[in-house]
Each structure stands twice: as structure tokens, then as C-alpha cells.
């Protein structure tokens, strides 16, 4: 019997497509810890419970994609995307009122200028989340900890085991990028609609 522990992801995916349950188990165990570490960064107040759902769902989606033959080139990036997309949905549900975005006041003011929808906050949130989703992971985490969880820079720096200056710098880089992009983002949204 072939020892699946040492085979590459491509072979594992082929075997999963053929219905090999053992290959599914090997794939899950290969990426479970990494996926949990990734999901842990975004989990809320009850990480154990929330992350269990997040990671399980992501694995189910990934395995389903492999089974039905969707092009999954690399397993972990696909898994990570599933986790992050699910996390974005959670953020949309959690969305704080616009007044919470102290540092994003300019974006709010700019986009109010174009306000043509009933739910202005939802549009603004969507624009910001989409933009942040394309940023580096450390930028995403620092932005979310600061804006959604209202954490101070000292706390974030302690958690990330880095200095306050680094965290402050990364955060204000994100804010500057968002402010620069806000009018364009809103324009493209209005055009699309």
C-alpha cells in the first residue's frame, strides 16, 4: 500500500477525486495546524469555537472543490482564501457604524458626497473590506484589530511581538492607502451599479 504521508499535494488531490478517504485524511492533517493558525488571527472573542466552524467549513469547501474538479492549483492558498472570505462575511455582519471609523473620516466624507444608495454604511464597508482584502496579512490584522476590535497600538504591538512604531506605521500606511483610493473606489462602485 502506498504511504500517502509522503506524496505531494497533486497526487493526494487526484486520489481524493477518485474517492480515496485516506487521502482526504492525510490532506486535512497536513494543513490543519496551518489553517488553524491562520483562522486564529481573525477569530473573535471565542476563537476555539469560531475557528472550529471557520476551519471545518473551509476544509469542506476545498475538498468539495477538489472532488468536483474545480481548478485548485495549490491547497493551502485555496484554503486560506476560503477562510478569509468566510471571515469577511462575518465582518460584514459585525460592521460597526461609520462613526466608529475615526481615522477613516475622510473616506466617509468623500463617499457621502456620492451617496446615492439607501445603505451608505454598507457600501462604505464593502469598499473598505474589498480594499483591505487585497493588502498584506499583517496590514489586514492590524487594521481589523484597531478598527473592529478597538485595540490600542500597545496591545497590538505586544500581541505581534513587535514595537509600537512598527504597528503605528503599518496602520497609518493602510489608512493613507484607503484615503487615496476612496474617491476612485466609490466612483467605480457607482459606475458598476
Amino acid at each position: 500500500m502506498l504511504n500517502l504521508r509522503h506524496v505531494d499535494d497533486k497526487t493526494l488531490m487526484e486520489r481524493i477525486r477518485k474517492g480515496d478517504q485516506r487521502a482526504t485524511g492525510i490532506l486535512v492533517r497536513r494543513y490543519l495546524e496551518q489553517a488553524m493558525a491562520y483562522a486564529g488571527r481573525f477569530a473573535g472573542n471565542n476563537p476555539d469555537h469560531e475557528s472550529e466552524d471557520l476551519v471545518s467549513e473551509a476544509f469542506i469547501k476545498t475538498i468539495r472543490a477538489i472532488e468536483i474538479g474545480t481548478s485548485v492549483n495549490q491547497v493551502f492558498p485555496y484554503l486560506r482564501k476560503c477562510i478569509y472570505n468566510q471571515h469577511l462575511d462575518d465582518l460584514r455582519r459585525r460592521r460597526p457604524p461609520t462613526s466608529y471609523f475615526d481615522d477613516l473620516g475622510v473616506i466617509a466624507a468623500d463617499s457621502y458626497h456620492y451617496n446615492t444608495t439607501d445603505d451608505h454604511d454598507a457600501v462604505l464597508m464593502e469598499l473598505i473590506l474589498n480594499e483591505v482584502a487585497g493588502m498584506r496579512e499583517d496590514q489586514q490584522i492590524i487594521f481589523e484589530l484597531r478598527v473592529f476590535d478597538r485595540r490600542d497600538f500597545e496591545y497590538i504591538a505586544r500581541e505581534m511581538r513587535t514595537c509600537v512604531d512598527t504597528v503605528t506605521h503599518i496602520y497609518y500606511n493602510v489608512i493613507r492607502t484607503l484615503k487615496n483610493r476612496a474617491p476612485k473606489l466609490y466612483d467605480s462602485y457607482v459606475t458598476d451599479v
Binding site: A39, E52, H169
Partner: protein, 226 residues
């Protein structure tokens, strides 16, 4: 480069560590996800418990097999292994006077411990033994202390006490006591699910000759070294 153009970055390792630290119990959450997915996809779960149970079963099986093989050679010893096994929950006989220290300040404490041990009151015995420095106990007393701890399922401490019995310089030590200490050390390893150490320890009390060689070869095949 101006201050604004700088673009510091936090390493992936730091982010991963941060993610793992967010869990109250990372291993339990991992086991839960694995169990959930294994139920859905029908693969066998990682089974750390299963491994433990299997290793304990293997250790007990080896222990019984070794006892069965060693029985004829050990029949002449002061206390047969079969007796020890039959008396798992009762105290070992304390007939030897060497169990009692003849003089010194610690005499009363050790006497108390031995008396409690004879009556099967292991908790009192252990308390009394623990109030005494382990270095002051002789081989026999260490055996009783280790056995009492074994009965209370305090395996780590039991191993320390039994090891003390083997290491301590005791002019009154005899072969039978040493053999019992080694036997109970093996049993303690077996109870803690340490199949490899059980085998290694049992190999020490196998008499020289064919049996010892067989046991050593079994150890070698399982552990890679005798």
C-alpha cells in the same frame, strides 16, 4: 528614504504564533476539527487515544508474557511475581526487619509509614514517607513507598521512589528486593502506557541465558536498540 515611504512588515512566523495563541486550547480545538471532518469524510481520526490504549494493551500483554516466561526462574525468590500480581491492591509483605530503620530521628515517621502501609492506608503511608527525605529510606522502604504511590496512581513520583530504591547504598539490600523494585518499575511504566520502557525494564530482571537474549532481541526489534 523618507519616513512615509518606509514599509515595515511583520513576519509570517509572528503572525502564525499570534494566531495559535488566540486559542484557549489549541490541541483540543484541533482534535475537534479533525473529529468533525473524519466523521464527514469517513477517514480514521488521528486517534491519539487509540494509540495510547494500544500501547497500554501491548505493554500489559508483554508484561504478562514476560511474567509467564520468567515464572520458573523466579520461583525461588523471596516473593514470587505471581504473588505480587495477585496482591496488586494489597500491601507487599513487610516481614524483613530491614524495612525498619534501627535508629535515628526518622524512626518514628518511617514506623508510622510502614504501619499505615501494612494496613493498606496508602494515603497516610505516602504522607508519612513524603515527610521524610527520600535519601534516608533504604531499598525496602523505597519499594513500599513506590508501591503505595503506584496504588494511588501517582506514577511519576512512584518511579522516583523506586529508582531511589535501586540507587541508594543499602548494606542490607538483597536480590529479591531489587527484583521486586524492577518489577514494580516495569508495572508503573506499563500503567503509564510506556511500552518501550516497560520492555527495557523487564529485560533487566530476565535471568542470564536464553530467555534474557530473547527478551533483549524483542526489545531490539521494537526499539532499535537493546
Amino acid at each position: 528614504m523618507s519616513h512615509e515611504e518606509q514599509n515595515p512588515e511583520i513576519s509570517q512566523d509572528a503572525l502564525n504564533d499570534y494566531g495559535k495563541r488566540q486559542y484557549k486550547n489549541f490541541d483540543a480545538a484541533k482534535a475537534n476539527i479533525d473529529r468533525r471532518l473524519s466523521q464527514r469524510y469517513g477517514y480514521s481520526s488521528s486517534g491519539s487515544n487509540l494509540k495510547k490504549v494500544l500501547s497500554m494493551a501491548a505493554a500489559l500483554a508483554m508484561l504478562l508474557a514476560a511474567w509467564w516466561c520468567l515464572r520458573p526462574q523466579l520461583s525461588g525468590s523471596e516473593l514470587e511475581l505471581s504473588q505480587i500480581i495477585a496482591q496488586q491492591s494489597s500491601p507487599l509483605p513487610t516481614t524483613s526487619q530491614s524495612a525498619y530503620r534501627s535508629a535515628g530521628e526518622s524512626q518514628s515517621t518511617v514506623d508510622e509509614a510502614i504501619k499505615a502501609y501494612e494496613q493498606g492506608d496508602y494515603e497516610t503511608a505516602v504522607d508519612a514517607f513524603e515527610s521524610q527525605s527520600m535519601e534516608l529510606l533504604n531499598a525496602k522502604q523505597s519499594l513500599f513507598f513506590g508501591h503505595a504511590l503506584f496504588q494511588l496512581k501517582r506514577y511519576q513520583k512512584a518511579l522516583l521512589a523506586l529508582d531511589n530504591g535501586l540507587q541508594i547504598a543499602d548494606p542490607q539490600r538483597d536480590m529479591a528486593t531489587d527484583r521486586q523494585i524492577v518489577y514494580w518499575t516495569a508495572k508503573t511504566y506499563a500503567a503509564s502506557g510506556r511500552c518501550d520502557l516497560t520492555l527495557r525494564t523487564l529485560a533487566k530482571i530476565a535471568p542470564p541465558g536464553e530467555l534474557s537474549q530473547k527478551l533483549a532481541s524483542v526489545c531490539e526489534s521494537i526499539l532499535g536498540q537493546p
